[in-house]
C-alpha cells in the first residue's frame, strides 16, 4: 500500500509524510513534475495532492491524469476553503478534499476510506477465518485478541490480505512496503517479516509459492 504525497511546503510535506508513514509507505515529492515521474514508474494506491504548487498546479496535474484515464484515487489538500475552490477540485476529478490545517487522524481516515473504496471494499473491517483486520488503523485481532504488529509486518500483511487468494510477488510486496525514505531494504527482509507474521498469526495462514511469492489462501 503505497501513497504519493505532493506538497511543496517543506515543513508541512515532511510532517504529513511522517504522519502517513505510520500506516503507509509514502513517497513525498514537492512538485507536479516530480509527481508525474513518480506516477510513471511506481503504482500507488492513493494520491494526496496539494492544489497550490509551483509550476504545474495540482489541478492541472489531476486534469492531466484524468485525461490519460488514470483512475488513481485522489485526495486534494487546499488552503482555500471557499466553496468554489472545493467544487473546482472535485469537478476536476478529485475524490475528496481536506482544508489546511487538517487533523492528522482525519487525513488518515479519509485516506483509508478512499483506498478501501477503490479496492471495491466498502466494509471498514476485513475478516478472514479467525482474523479481523481494520486497514484504516492497521488494527488486527486474532480470535478476539489484539495482535501487535510492527509497521513493516503490518504493511506486508496488508498487502497480502488485500490480494487474498491471489499470489503476490516478493517485488510487489517490497514496492508497497518500502518507500524511498526506507534505508533498511535487504533482499531477505520480506522473509523476516513473513516469518514474524507466521509466528504471530499461525503457521498455515501465509503460504509460500516457490519462485512466485506468497499467498493467503481462502
Amino acid at each position: 500500500m503505497r501513497i504519493l504525497l505532493v506538497e511543496d511546503d517543506k515543513n508541512l510535506g515532511q510532517a504529513t509524510a511522517d504522519g502517513l508513514r505510520g500506516l503507509y509507505a509514502t513517497d513525498w515529492v514537492r512538485s507536479a513534475e516530480e509527481a508525474q515521474d513518480a506516477l510513471a514508474t511506481t503504482s500507488y494506491a492513493l494520491l494526496v495532492l496539494d492544489i497550490n504548487l509551483p509550476g504545474i498546479s495540482g489541478l492541472e496535474l489531476l486534469q492531466d491524469l484524468r485525461h490519460k484515464k488514470n483512475q488513481i484515487p485522489t485526495l486534494f489538500l487546499t488552503a482555500r476553503d471557499a466553496v468554489r475552490h472545493r467544487i473546482e477540485g472535485l469537478n476536476t476529478g478529485a475524490d475528496d478534499y481536506l482544508v489546511k490545517p487538517f487533523d492528522l487522524d482525519e487525513l488518515l481516515a479519509r485516506c483509508a476510506a478512499l483506498i478501501r473504496r477503490s479496492g471495491g471494499q466498502a466494509l471498514p473491517v476485513i475478516t478472514h477465518k479467525n482474523i479481523a483486520y481494520e486497514p484504516a488503523s492497521r488494527h488486527l485481532e486474532k480470535s478476539g485478541k489484539s495482535v501487535r504488529l510492527s509497521s513493516r509486518e503490518a504493511a506486508v500483511f496488508d498487502c497480502l490480505i488485500r490480494n487474498i487468494d491471489r499470489p503476490v510477488s516478493k517485488e510487489k510486496i517490497m514496492e508497497s512496503v518500502y518507500d524511498w525514505s526506507s534505508e533498511d531494504i535487504e533482499s531477505n527482509t520480506i522473509e523476516v517479516h513473513i516469518a514474524a507474521l507466521r509466528r504471530k498469526l499461525g503457521r498455515d495462514l501465509i503460504k509460500t509459492i516457490r519462485n512466485v511469492g506468497y499467498i493467503i489462501p481462502k
Binding site: D9, N11, L12, L77, A79, A82, K100, P101, F102, L104
Partner: protein
C-alpha cells in the same frame, strides 16, 4: 444630498415663465397703443363733425330758413349715434341740439377738448367758437364708444392667448419629460440595482450633457470592482499563507504526539507528551482565530446572495452541531423550535451566526447549566443561557472586534460576535442582549418570516 430639486419643474418654469411674461407685455403694449390711436381717431372725428355742423349753420343763417338740420331722422340712426350729441348757439342763443343732450341742462364746456361726467356717463366734448358770426358749436361723445372698441380689440388678443398659454405649458411639460427621460431611466437603473452590483450603466445614446457623468460613474464602478476583487484575492492569498504553516505545525505536533504515545506504551519517555498536547491546543486556537478572521474578511468582501431558506431547519442544524459539546459539559439543552419558518436570507452566513451564538452560550455556561433555545412563530429567536451574563457596558462592547468580556480564561478569537453582528446587519435584523433571570444572558433576534402562502408556492 441635503436638498434636492426637480430638474423637470425647473425647466418647465424657466421655459413657461418667459412665454407668459412676453404674452402679458404684448397685451399691455397693444392696449396702450390701441387706446392712444383710438383717442386720436375719435377726437379727429369730433373735430370733423364740428366743422360740418358749422358749415351747415352758416348755410342756414345765410338762407335764413327755418333751422332744421334733419339729423333726427329715425331711419338714418346708428346705435352709436345715441352716444353722440351736439348743441349749437348763435349769439349765445341755443338754436339747436340733439335729443340726448337734454341731460346737459345749462352746462357749457370750455372751448377745445374737455372731459366731463354728466349723469351716469362720461363724455368727451369739443367746443368750436366762430367769433365772426357768433356761432358756438359743441360736439359731444360718450366715452363708452371708445371703451367698447378697445375692449373688442383687446379680446381679439387675449382670448387666443388664454388658449395658447396652457397649450404651451403642456407642450413644454411633455417636451421636458422626453428630454429628461435618459436621466430618469439612469437614476431608476442605479436605484434598482443591488448594493453590490457594480456592472457599468448601459449607455447607448446618452445626451452629451450627462455622458461624462455616466462615464465617470462607470469608471468608479470599475475601480471599486477591481479593488473588491483585489481584496478577495488578498484574502485568498492570506488564507493560503497563514494556513500552510499552521497546517505544518499541527501535523508535525500530531505526528509527535503519536510517537510519544507509542513510546509511552513501550515504556519510553513521556514527559514531552503533555507539552505537545498544550502545543496542539495553542495551534488549534491560532487556527480558529485565523479561520474567524478569514471568514469575516470573506463575508465582507463577497456578496451574500439571499434566497428563501428554512430558518427552523437551520436552527435545528446549529443545535445539532453544539449538542456534543453541551453533553460534554453536562449542559441541558431545552429547545422549542417552531417548524417550517422561512426567511429571505443567505443560508451559510445565517448558519455561521447561529453557530457563533449557540457556541458562545455553551462556552460560557458552567457545567450542569442549561441553554434554552426557542424559535417562535413570529420569527423571534431566543437563546438564553445560565452563564455569568454581561453587564450593560459589556453588552455594547462585545460586538466590537477582538473584545472579549469574560476573564474566565475561555478560549476564543473575540470575533465571533462581531461576525454574528455583521451577518445580522446584512439581513436587516438586530441582535438584542438582555439579562436572563436569575443569571445568564439572553440573546434575541427577530427575523422577518416570509408569509406561509409564499412558502407553499415554492
Amino acid at each position: 444630498m441635503k436638498r434636492t430639486y426637480s430638474l423637470r419643474s425647473r425647466l418647465i418654469t424657466w421655459i413657461s415663465l418667459p412665454i407668459l411674461i412676453a404674452t402679458l407685455l404684448t397685451v399691455l403694449i397693444s392696449y396702450i397703443f390701441a387706446r392712444h390711436e383710438i383717442e386720436e381717431v375719435y377726437d379727429a372725428q369730433l373735430v370733423h363733425s364740428a366743422k360740418v355742423l358749422l358749415q351747415l349753420t352758416h348755410h342756414e343763417i345765410l338762407e335764413d330758413e327755418k333751422f332744421n338740420l334733419g339729423l333726427e331722422d329715425p331711419d338714418l340712426q346708428h346705435r352709436y349715434e345715441r352716444k353722440l350729441g351736439f348743441r349749437i348757439w348763435v349769439d349765445n342763443d341755443p338754436i339747436s341740439q340733439s335729443t340726448n343732450t337734454a341731460d346737459f341742462k345749462d352746462f357749457e364746456a370750455p372751448p377745445g377738448f374737455s372731459n366731463q361726467t354728466i349723469g351716469k356717463h362720461r363724455w368727451r366734448f369739443f367746443v368750436f367758437l366762430d367769433p365772426a358770426d357768433g356761432i358756438k358749436i359743441e360736439v359731444s361723445e360718450r366715452y363708452d364708444i371708445r371703451y367698447e372698441l378697445i375692449i373688442q380689440l383687446m379680446s381679439a388678443l387675449i382670448l387666443p392667448a388664454l388658449f395658447f398659454i396652457p397649450t404651451i405649458v403642456i407642450v413644454v411639460w411633455i417636451g421636458v419629460r422626453k428630454v429628461l427621460h435618459p436621466v430618469v431611466r439612469m437614476s431608476v437603473d442605479v436605484d434598482q440595482r443591488s448594493s453590490d452590483d457594480l456592472s457599468p450603466i448601459a449607455h447607448d445614446r446618452l445626451p452629451q450633457e450627462i455622458a461624462p457623468f455616466v462615464q465617470a460613474l462607470n469608471r468608479l464602478f470599475k475601480r471599486l470592482e477591481e479593488s473588491f476583487r483585489r481584496e478577495r484575492e488578498f484574502t485568498d492569498h492570506a488564507a493560503h499563507e497563514l494556513r500552510t504553516p499552521l497546517a505544518a505545525m499541527k501535523t508535525q505536533t500530531q505526528v509527535l504526539i503519536k510517537k510519544a504515545g507509542a513510546m509511552e506504551q513501550t515504556g519510553g519517555i513521556s514527559e514531552c507528551a503533555e507539552g505537545l498536547l498544550n502545543l496542539e491546543t495553542s495551534i488549534n486556537r491560532a487556527t480558529h482565530l485565523v479561520e474567524q478572521l478569514l471568514l469575516l474578511a470573506r463575508l465582507q468582501n463577497e456578496d451574500l446572495p439571499k434566497n428563501k431558506m428554512d430558518l427552523s431547519a437551520c436552527v435545528l442544524g446549529a443545535i445539532e452541531d453544539i449538542r456534543r459539546r453541551a453533553a460534554h459539559k453536562n449542559i441541558h439543552l431545552k429547545t422549542k423550535i417552531m417548524p417550517g419558518l422561512y426567511i429571505h436570507g443567505h443560508d451559510i452566513s445565517v448558519g455561521i451566526l447561529l453557530n457563533n451564538l449557540l457556541g458562545n452560550a455553551v462556552k460560557y455556561t458552567p457545567e450542569g447549566g442549561s441553554v434554552d433555545i426557542t424559535l417562535e412563530a413570529d420569527g423571534t429567536l431566543c437563546i438564553a443561557d445560565t452563564g455569568p451574563g454581561l453587564n450593560d457596558q459589556d453588552k455594547v462592547r462585545v460586538f466590537k472586534r477582538f473584545v472579549r468580556a469574560d476573564k474566565s480564561g475561555q478560549t476564543g478569537s473575540g470575533l465571533g460576535l462581531s461576525i454574528a453582528q455583521w451577518v445580522a446587519h446584512a439581513h436587516d435584523v438586530q441582535i438584542e442582549l438582555s439579562d436572563h433571570a436569575p443569571t445568564g444572558l439572553s440573546v434575541k433576534i427577530k427575523w422577518d418570516i416570509l408569509p406561509a402562502s409564499n412558502s407553499k408556492a415554492i
